[in-house]
Structure formats: C-alpha cells, structure tokens
C-alpha cells in the first residue's frame, strides 16, 4: 500500500509538469495549429531566472514574478519576431521555426546563465509528509496544487471572459472569428503569452524537486508533446489528463516493471497513439469535409 501511494504521488508530481507543458502546447495549437516546440524552454526560463534572481538577493516571490515576466516577454518576442513574419507559411514550416527558436533560447540561456545545474529551496520546507506509509514532499503538493490552480484559472478565463471566448472562437474557426471582428493576431500573441506564463510557473514550482539547468527544456517538450498527443492534441482537458496519465505510467513502469525502460514509455505512448487512436483520449476525430 505504502509503495502504491509513493508511486502514485511520484507519478502525479511528474505528470503535473507534463500536463502544464502539454497545456501550453494545446493553447498555441488551438490558436494557430502550430506545435510550439519552444514550450519546454519556457519551463527552463521559469526555473533558471528564478534561481538567478533569488541568488542575486531578490525574495523568492519577486524572483518568481520576474521569471514569469521574462518568460512571457520571450513568448511574445517569439510570436512577434519568428511566427508573425512567417505568417502564411505552412504549419510544418512554423513548427520548424519553433524548433529553431528553442535552440536559440537554450543557447542564449547557456551564455547568460551558465551550464551548471541549480536548485531552489522548497517553498515550505523539506520535511516529507507521511501519508499511508509513503513520504511526500511538501513541494509535490505545491506542484499539484499549482497545476490545479492554473487549470482552473485557465478554464475560468476561457469560459467566462470575452477574451477567452475570442480564443475559443479562433480555435473553432479562424476565418469566421475574423469575420465577426476578432483580431486573431492578438489572440495568437495572447496564446503565446499565456503558454509562456504557464510553462514558467511549472518551472518555478518544480525546480526545488527536480533541479534545473539551461538544457531541461528539451526532454520536457518531448514528454509534454507525448502527453498532449495522448490526451488528444487541441483539447485542454485532454492535455491535463494526458500529462497525469503519462507521469503515472512512467512511475509505475519504473517501480513495477523495469526502470531501464522508463523513458521508453513516453515514446511508446506516442507510437501507440499514432497507430491505434490518432485522435488521442479526448480529441476530436479530424474530419475532412468534402
């Protein structure tokens, strides 16, 4: 029992981060059909900027706010300087642009910061909580709670605000949205900004547990992408579900089957999803209208 609970929390914590990355993918995908492979770099920026601002003497909340601001600015710049000028290019071209951008951001981070790993102090101490014989870090609860708050906030924004509705309208039908007077350019910029903020928050929450370095974004982007695929790309609820399921699969694969092949799980998931159910768990079937 204790072992099950331990694996459950290990999986949920890792999964929550995958979910946040997947959510970022989803937002931008909805607004533009672009898969933004620089999504992992927002997570990296969130962690790294916080670490360095904190080391420079800023209090942790301020350092975190600064990190979110830096990530959002990066997201907006990415949209303004790389995506916007390539408007009209095919989706594949845009995806390649985002891969290039992610390499650039990583390179800059490596120069501005350094190449070492860094840690942040846990927000509320390192003493593990005991739950049914399992030991759970308070920071894990921060990650889970933070992820839940973000998902809820995003849901409120999408359902209850005019701007959120504009995003949804753009996602549903871009041309129609433009016809009713929605500036889809602003919507897309907004999607990048919000995705960046979500990624950054994820990076900040998780750094006390997982440590961070300039290079952590790559693998997170891949895992997050797998999660988004699993959940059904373009569906926010699916993204969250996909992230959590992937995290749990990895944890239980490592704990119960063989830790050697743990990383293979994510990629096996991508393959299976592509082969068996390309629409993912909650995705719509892509219907070509004739």
């Amino acid at each position: 029992m204790a072992e099950l609970v331990q694996l459950l929390f290990a999986g949920l914590t890792t999964g929550a981060v995958y979910a946040l990355v997947a959510l970022g993918f989803t937002l931008i995908f909805q607004a533009s059909e672009v898969v933004n492979f620089a999504q992992g770099e927002f997570v990296m920026l969130g962690g790294m900027v916080t670490v360095f601002a904190f080391k420079a003497g800023l209090p942790l909340p301020l350092a975190a706010a600064l990190a979110i601001a830096v990530a959002v600015t990066t997201g907006l710049l990415l949209h303004r300087l790389a995506i916007e000028p390539a408007k009209g290019a095919t989706v594949v071209t845009l995806i390649i642009v985002t891969i290039g951008a992610s390499i650039l951001i990583r390179g800059i981070a490596q120069i501005v910061f350094d190449k070492q790993f860094h840690a942040l102090p846990a927000f509320t101490g390192d003493e593990p909580l005991r739950l049914l014989g399992a030991a759970i870090l308070p920071q894990s609860l921060w990650v889970l709670g933070g992820a839940a708050a973000i998902v809820f906030g995003l849901w409120l924004f999408m359902e209850r605000t005019l701007l959120g509705k504009a995003v949804r309208a753009t996602a549903a039908n871009r041309l129609a949205a433009e016809l009713v007077g929605i500036d889809t350019r602003i919507v897309l910029a907004l999607a990048f900004a919000v995705s960046a903020a979500i990624g950054a928050v994820g990076g900040i929450l998780v750094t006390p547990i997982t440590l961070t370095s300039y290079a952590v974004g790559t693998i997170l982007a891949l895992k997050g992408f797998a999660a988004a695929m699993l959940g059904g790309i373009g569906n926010p609820v699916g993204a969250v579900l996909g992230g959590l399921v992937l995290g749990l699969l990895e944890a239980f694969a490592a704990g119960r089957i063989s830790s050697t092949y743990k990383d293979g799980v994510a990629f096996l998931v991508i393959l299976l999803v592509l082969l068996v159910m390309p629409q993912g768990l909650l995705g719509r079937r892509a219907v070509e209208r004739v």
Partner: protein
C-alpha cells in the same frame, strides 16, 4: 596595400635569414573536450586548465625550447563530433599528441583515429575500457570506475555490511560503473540485491528507491554524475531511508553538495585527493602538487577547483615530461617515454605506467570522503 606587402616581404625575409634558429616552431598539442553539453561541467574546467598551464609552460620557456600551441575543439559531448574533431586534429592541425576526451563515449569514438595515426592520446575520461585492453597509443589520467567500486565495497565491508542496492544512470558513466561494480562485487564478498536504473535527466527516482528498500539492501550505491546523484540523494532522504548512501567520484565537486543540500549529509564517496587538499596529512606525497594546482586554478579562474580540471593538468604534465624525456615529438618515442613514467605525482595520484598499464594508478589514489556540515571530510 603595397606597404602591407612590403612589411610582409621584410618579415618573411627576416624569417628566412634567421633560419633554423627561430624556426623553433611551436609544438602542437591537440584537444577535444565537451566544453558545452551535458558534460560541460567536466569539459569546462578541463579547457580552462589546459589553457592556463600551456600559458604558464610557454612563459617559462616552453618544452625542448619550443612553445606549445594548443588546439582545442568543443565536441559538445557528442561522440560523432569527437571523432570528426579527432580526424581534424590529425589531418589538418597535424598535432603531435592529444590530451582530451572528456567522456568515455567521446574518447572511445576518437581512439581509432589516433591509434591509426600513431599519435599519443591521453584521455581525461573515467571508463576502464579506454585502457583495458591496452591500446598502444592510448593513456588516461582519471581513476577508473572499477577502482571506485572496489574502494566503495572495501568501505562497505569495513562497516560490516555486504548487501548492496545499486541505482545507476543508463548513460555512459553510470552504465559503465554499474557493470564494473557488478563484476567486482563477488570478488569483494558483496551481494548486489537490487540493480535499478534511471535515465539521464530523470527528475524522480523514488519508484526505484522503493524497490531497493524492499530488496533488503543494507547500503545504497549510486553510479552517476551530474544532477542525477543530487536527485537520488534528495529522494533517499525524502523517503526517510536510513541506509548509508555511497556516491561515486563522479559527484566530486562542490556543486553536488549545493544541489543535494542537507540531504547530502553523511553521504560517502571515493574521490581524488584534490577535494581535501588542505586536510591531507603533511607527509602526503600529493599534498604539494594538489595545493599548488588548487591555488593556481582558483586564483586565476575565480571558481572553485574540481577534480576534473585536475585530470587535464595531470594529462598535460605527463605529456610534457614525456616529450622532455624523449627529446623529440616523434609519436612512437613520446609514447615509449609516457609508458616509462614512474613516480609521477599528479592531482589524481602517484602514476607508475608500464606497457601493460596505461593509467598507472592504484587504489591508494582514491580517498574515502564523507560529507559533513556541507563540506568534504577525509576519512582515510
């Protein structure tokens, strides 16, 4: 334009006139290091060390009356790049010897190139397969992972334990050390009761540690370098496991203590004398060498010394002394001189090479350390 030509002309005339006297062409020593990428924390201090000491050697008059010209490439930790740069060092840079190869993977990729060209190559990587079996032109300075296993198991037995739970990374260093540990365990009377793995970049190892806990292990041995060991160390404490934890020499830098935080207290590891330079007893043969290097590095680079830079120091010094003894830069003769190295005192230990031992270190080169109050404590 004309004036520039004139100057060039005069310059070449002078060069020609002075002939062989100033023809003391520099001795070209090549290097390929993982200055960026996942092994950058190894490659970066290595590069700094090579540049620093080549400058010092040149300022002191060079070797055989010639300056050293250092050619360094950054392979980014990628074995394919390493091989490309190795070829470039041999074919276009025409170096006389090579000190480099940050990781076992990059080293192994480059070895055939230097062996074919008969160029002495001193690797800075840990894997035992670099020098076992012995290859005619390949040497290495760091301790092997096999020695690390032996040192750890020696300590485990001393404390009266014998059941070991292994947890190692699937990447090069971790995988290689795991294999060596599994191999030497029976000889040392150690029983490996759990053998868990995790991938580089993994951020949670509690599932694996749970399995180790259930296996009845008396101690945990973690084979890896970089951030993995910090995660494992934090996870061990998070789970409240009371088992003694051993890390490898791969974590022998201050950043491990910073990353693992209070969880690192009580962790033991085998490491080179460098980490505890000040704590070495007065009579220790390595004390002077290690302290000198540490002071020089820290005063010029403004960052704490690591054993990895020390490997580069040892490699460069071994090579320079061998060239001096050989009196030439001929590959075969320098190789013979390297092989004949006896009693060389480096940062990694006392080196006694032979035709069958291209590393020349024994277990005494490893010290057993424990982390206490956020710093290294020399045990023996």
């Amino acid at each position: 334009m004309n004036r520039r030509r004139l100057v060039l002309g005069i310059a070449s005339a002078i060069l020609l006139a002075t002939g062989p006297l100033s023809a003391a062409e520099p001795i070209k020593i090549g290097s390929f290091l993982s200055v960026t990428g996942p092994a950058s924390f190894l490659g970066d201090p290595e590069k700094r060390t090579l540049e620093l000491y080549v400058e010092k050697i040149n300022a002191a008059g060079g070797v055989l009356g010639r300056k050293i010209a250092l050619v360094i490439y950054d392979d980014g930790g990628d074995a394919n790049n390493a091989r490309t740069f190795a070829t470039r060092l041999v074919e276009s840079d025409k170096v006389v010897a090579v000190v480099g190869g940050t990781t076992t993977a990059t080293t192994m990729a480059a070895i055939p190139v230097f062996e074919d060209a008969q160029i002495p190559f001193i690797s800075l990587a840990g894997g035992i397969e670099i020098v076992e079996p012995v290859k005619p032109f390949t040497f290495k300075t760091p301790h092997t992972d096999k020695m690390a296993c032996e040192k750890i198991f020696e300590d485990v037995k001393k404390r009266g334990f014998s059941r070991v739970g292994m947890i190692s990374s699937t990447a090069g260093f971790g995988a290689s050390m795991r294999n060596q540990c599994l191999k030497v365990a029976p000889e040392r009377g150690i029983q490996i009761v759990a053998d868990e793995r995790y991938a580089p970049g993994d951020t949670d190892t509690t599932p694996q540690l749970n399995k180790i806990k259930a296996s009845g292990a008396e101690v945990i041995v973690n084979a890896d370098f970089g951030q993995g060991p910090a995660i494992v160390t934090r996870n061990v404490r998070q789970l409240g496991l009371e088992l003694p934890l051993y890390q490898s020499h791969g974590v022998a830098s201050k950043s491990f203590i910073d990353l693992a935080g209070p969880a690192a207290e009580g962790v033991r590891l085998p490491a080179a004398a460098m980490l505890v330079a000040e704590q070495l007893p007065e009579g220790d043969p390595q004390k002077k060498v290690v302290l000198d290097y540490k002071t020089t590095y820290e005063s010029t680079q403004k960052q704490p010394v690591s054993t990895f830079g020390g490997h580069a120091y040892d490699g460069l010094m071994l090579l320079v002394q061998a060239i001096q003894r050989a009196g030439t830069t001929d590959g075969v003769k320098v190789r013979d001189a390297l092989r004949a190295t006896k009693g060389f005192i480096g940062t990694g230990g006392v080196v006694n090479m032979s035709p069958t031992d291209h590393m020349g270190l024994d277990l005494s080169a490893f010290r057993m350390l424990e982390i206490r109050n956020g710093t290294w404590q020399l045990l023996y």
